[in-house]
């Protein structure tokens, strides 16, 4: 009897998980199906839930309609620049906070708190003025520089560097290595999991940013992917061309998805490391 009950529990768990998964995955599936139909078939009744044959022509149409190449290029540039910049800045600062004694090292936590509570939307109006004065509107500067500091990143690397045995640094010092040599040759190679985890977090974040680009960018050659999505979506209100919209959506959601899938393991491990503290 006891064995049976355990088995039944397991079957029930599987059933719940599978049905939840179907519900959660359905919007993507439906979007995918829509992207393969003609405009007419997209409005067929009852709705067609199996793929059609128009995927490539829809993608081509969406690609041309919003100048997809420019959008993807801009989003890639800002997402990669900000990811690399943030990771570099975070590693340097975390190294300072864990390996040196210096005046002002107490600043870490107050600063972390302050930056956490001042997300960009809270300061968007003065920031806009500042960018206008600097002449940075409609440039990559506006889309990258304000994002470069990340206390999330500093804390993530700090947690990890605190677990690295002190003997490593001592041995390096005795062998005559400078701090920067120690950082580059010993600490950095140990940090790849965190680097990959932060890369996923920052890339996804920047790729999906919308509020600030929407304010800082008006020139069509500087638009980012999320803005293109809005253009596709709002161009045909009422009688939406769902096949074209969804074809565009699929293209735009792909880059962050690929990064997440590639570094999925490191991402989960990095997060597990962060929650253990």
């Amino acid at each position: 009897m006891a064995v049976n009950r355990k088995l039944i529990t397991k079957i029930v768990i599987h059933l719940i998980l599978i049905s939840t998964l179907i519900v959660v995955a359905f919007p993507i599936y439906y979007a995918l199906v829509m992207a393969t139909h003609t405009h007419q078939d997209a409005y067929a009744f009852p709705p067609k839930l199996t793929p059609g044959k128009e995927l490539f022509s829809n993608i081509k149409e969406a690609w041309q309609r919003v100048k997809m190449a420019t959008l993807l290029k801009n989003s890639l540039i800002i997402a990669i620049t900000v990811s690399i910049g943030k990771i570099t800045f975070s590693i340097l600062a975390a190294f300072a906070f864990t390996h040196f004694k210096f005046k002002g090292s107490w600043l870490l936590f107050p600063l972390a708190m302050v930056t956490q509570m001042m997300p960009l939307p809270v300061r968007v109006i003065p920031l806009y003025r500042m960018m206008a004065q600097l002449g940075w509107l409609n440039t990559y500067w506006a889309l990258t520089v304000p994002y470069l500091a990340s206390t999330t990143g500093i804390i993530l690397f700090r947690q990890f560097y605190l677990t690295v045995p002190a003997e490593l640094a001592d041995a390096a010092r005795v062998d005559g290595a400078t701090p920067m040599q120690y950082l580059r040759r010993i600490l950095l190679p140990l940090s790849w999991t965190n680097v990959a985890a932060l890369l996923v977090i920052e890339f996804v974040y920047m790729w999906n940013e919308y509020l600030w680009p929407n304010i800082a960018i008006t020139a069509s050659n500087m638009r980012v992917a999320q803005m293109g999505l809005r253009m596709l979506y709002t161009s045909e209100r009422g009688a939406a061309e769902w096949n074209i919209i969804m074809a565009g959506t699929l293209i735009i959601m792909l880059p962050p998805l690929i990064i997440l899938i590639l570094f999925r393991k490191q991402f989960s491990e990095g997060i597990a490391m962060q929650t253990t503290k």
Binding site: P47, L92, F100, M117, T178, R230
Partner: protein, 294 residues
């Protein structure tokens, strides 16, 4: 701590890039926002005029603002409450001792890569007034045909469902990480002592999970108050009848659409205070729970 005592200057150089960006692009503009919130722009002479607390007083007297505040609050509570409960349930099930647990843990992660706008676009297809599946299901069951272009409740539900959906991946990853940190021996000890599964969860698992919960409440609050902007701007444009005009959307409209910078700055300061309170609770919870660390 001090592993390279002969390098006095280096640590300052190492923190310099981060501190500079934080000072110039975070703290300074925020100071400006506070300053602006006590001023208004004189449209004739195009200069700032000091108005004291007027922006704040008028803001809290404005029915429009209070309506936006109320709707944002309801939205946030639904996104945080429902979102976290659903994610925790899924995370709990995927960490049970079942075959394919690893598969499930991965299978739910990917909504993390979706942007709020993508979530909005996908769910607005499902809620589409003419071909949306949800529209047809509800219509056939109740005889009521929803249309989120002019139905305030439908628009609100659409925005909420899309938000919960898009946050699922992130929440589940963190819950799984948190659950895997709960020592097995503790749960076993409790069940040997005769505790039911339910009791083990509330007495052992949940308290150890509280820093994760507090962290996720904070992140989801930030989502509900700020990140939802894209979703609202693209799908509902704050409508119908302002029902989805959340606080951040209103700041955007007042600050950039109506050029009322002072009024919008005052709204930003209020948003900061809300986030600061939630953030302080999170930090308090995660330091208090250090007791459980050992």
């Amino acid at each position: 701590m001090d592993r390279f005592p002969n390098h006095r200057f280096l640590p300052y150089a190492l923190v310099f890039p981060s501190i500079t960006v934080i000072a110039i692009f975070l703290i300074y503009p925020f100071g400006q926002a506070i300053y602006q919130s006590f001023h208004r722009i004189n449209p004739v002479r195009r200069q700032l005029v000091y108005v004291g607390w007027r922006n704040y007083v008028e803001m809290f007297r404005s029915p429009e603002y209070l309506y936006s505040f109320r709707n944002t609050f309801i939205f946030a509570v639904l996104v945080i409450g429902l979102g976290l409960v659903i994610s925790l349930c899924i995370a709990l099930l995927t960490t049970q001792n079942i075959r394919g647990a690893g598969f499930y843990q991965v299978a739910f992660v990917w909504t993390y890569a979706m942007s709020p706008i993508i979530a909005g676009v996908m769910w607005s297809l499902i809620f589409d007034p003419s071909i949306g599946l949800m529209t047809h299901v509800i219509g056939n069951l109740t005889g009521y045909w929803i249309n989120f272009f002019n139905d305030t409740v439908a628009a609100f539900i659409l925005v909420t469902v899309a938000s919960i959906w898009v946050m699922l991946g992130y929440n589940i990853v963190f819950f799984i990480a948190g659950l895997q940190n709960v020592p097995h021996e503790l749960k076993e000890a409790a069940s040997i002592d005769g505790a039911t599964t339910w009791q083990v969860f509330w007495v052992v698992t949940f308290p150890m999970l509280s820093p994760t919960v507090a962290f996720l409440v904070f992140v989801n609050t930030v989502y509900a108050f700020f990140q939802s902007f894209g979703l609202v701007d693209v799908v509902t444009m704050g409508g119908p009848n302002r029902s989805t005009e959340f606080l951040i959307y209103k700041i955007y409209k007042d600050g950039f659409g109506r050029m009322q910078e002072g009024q919008a700055a005052a709204q930003s300061v209020v948003l900061f205070i809300i986030i600061a309170i939630v953030g302080a609770i999170q930090i308090y919870t995660s330091t208090k729970s250090a007791v459980y660390d050992r």
